[in-house]
């Protein structure tokens, strides 16, 4: 599929997805979009991810194929790089934490170097790390901030997040930094796919689709917060009714809310069937989550089977005379 089509098709798909709840709510299907779709999406998300993980877990890790990114453990006098080349499970845990929370492998792209005179410069690849980190962390914080709609009383950490996130106290309602950051990061992640020829070449429709979906989700959310207000008391009433499993749909929440909710549901439902499963997959990656101690501790391959080998007897049988000629000891004279 050409690059243009790879972008166009998902874009059209997302635009259609935006129209669906708008029309649906007009047709009086608000219960469907406010209750049925979210529950369904939630179930698909959980069920799907669970199936995916179980599916992965059903395949064993027959060999210990750690990628080592630093000095391994050998002698006491050789400095062991514990977190890039873990030897114990504890060290693996730290490596995974660094990987999952700080994107350490991507960070490796960051190389400070002296180039063309004394000016310190960084490799361009740091942007990918920064963009990815900014996007993922913003997304997480935004998700957690939304907990104010799902709990009563609102837990303290949400309050803390909100005050940190709204630190600059810009505008009313307060501008959340993550809102700005996530749009910037997402734009960057999108643009690099379009602008960098290598990336344009490798990008598939399934790379653009989640990007557009996220744009839809985030922009509708930002729109609701800052521009086209909806009645968030009612939003919370709906959210609370959903989480206590007694769904009621208050009248008169703006259509934009339904777009936002629908985007979220599509994203959740799409999750298990797409590359987005990297969220769960990263924890299972055998090159990262295994200790590099395979000479220290035997790793067992559960499907190991006997193979045909060329035994010494067969070998000696073939070469006995020649072996004797040069004085090599033989088993059978």
């Amino acid at each position: 599929m050409s690059a243009q089509k790879s972008i166009l098709y998902p874009l059209v798909a997302v635009l259609v997805l935006i129209l669906i709840p708008v029309i649906g709510v007009k047709l009086g299907l608000s219960y469907f979009f406010a209750v049925v779709v979210p529950y369904a999406a939630f179930v698909i998300f959980f069920g799907g991810i669970l199936c995916k993980i179980v599916n992965w877990a059903r395949s064993p890790v027959p060999f210990r194929i750690t990628t080592t990114c630093g000095q391994g453990k050998s002698f006491d006098w050789v400095k062991h790089n514990k977190f890039d080349n873990p030897f114990t499970n504890k060290q693996v845990f730290v490596r995974m934490v660094l990987e999952v929370l700080c994107f350490r492998s991507l960070f490796r792209n960051l190389k400070m170097e002296l180039r063309d005179g004394p000016k310190l410069t960084y490799g361009s690849a740091k942007w990918l790390w920064l963009g990815a980190l900014a996007f993922h962390w913003s997304f997480l914080i935004i998700l957690l901030r939304h907990m104010r709609f799902f709990a009563q009383p609102v837990p303290g950490f949400v309050d803390m997040l909100q005050s940190v996130d709204g630190f600059f106290e810009l505008g009313v309602p307060q501008l959340f930094l993550t809102d700005a950051v996530i749009v910037a990061a997402l734009t960057y992640l999108f643009l690099r796919r379009v602008v960098v020829p290598q990336l344009r070449y490798i990008s598939l429709p399934s790379d653009y689709f989640p990007l557009f979906l996220l744009f839809g989700l985030i922009l509708s959310g930002i729109g609701m917060r800052y521009f086209f207000k909806v009645d968030i008391i009612k939003v919370k009433e709906l959210a609370m009714s959903l989480v206590i499993l007694k769904p009621t749909v208050p009248e008169g929440i703006g259509a934009l809310f339904y777009v936002h909710l629908f985007m979220l549901c599509v994203l959740f439902a799409y999750f298990p069937f797409s590359k987005l499963t990297h969220m769960a997959g990263v924890f299972l990656s055998p090159t990262r989550n295994l200790a590099n101690n395979s000479r220290y501790k035997r790793h067992v391959n559960p499907w190991d089977y006997p193979v045909k080998v060329h035994t010494y007897e067969e070998y000696e049988e073939e070469f006995r005379e020649k072996m004797k000629e040069v004085g090599l000891p033989v088993e059978k004279e």
């Binding site: 799902f150 309050d159 009313v172 009645d231 009433e237 959210a239």
Partner: protein, 127 residues
Amino acid sequence: MKIYDGRKIIPGILIAAVIFSFPFWLNFGKAAVPPKPKLPKEVKNCVEPTTFMRTSHMQLLNEWRDIVVRENFRLFAAPDGKEHLMSLQNGCLKCHESKADFCDQCHNYLDVKPYCWDCHLAPKENK
């Protein structure tokens, strides 16, 4: 069906499930109580229609403070012809007599912590 590394993966799944279903178990068995802001008894109409005030009062207030501070207009003639003093302390809170019974109701419900009250003085509640 054989699951490999189940001793690590299953607890992992459980932990993730607990985290992701947090809103469900946190509210389990509770009833959702929507906020009930106390409205003024005598006055029925606010400066703008209720629906607008519900969603956009913060922007209106923000708007007002710019107009008052920077342009020195202090009176707002509402569509119904009534004039209102554009002031939080000397306007709004004259009708909505209690911050706790009015503002805080929804703000607490939605965990909104406006910084109005850092400077503006809320009416002293009768204790």
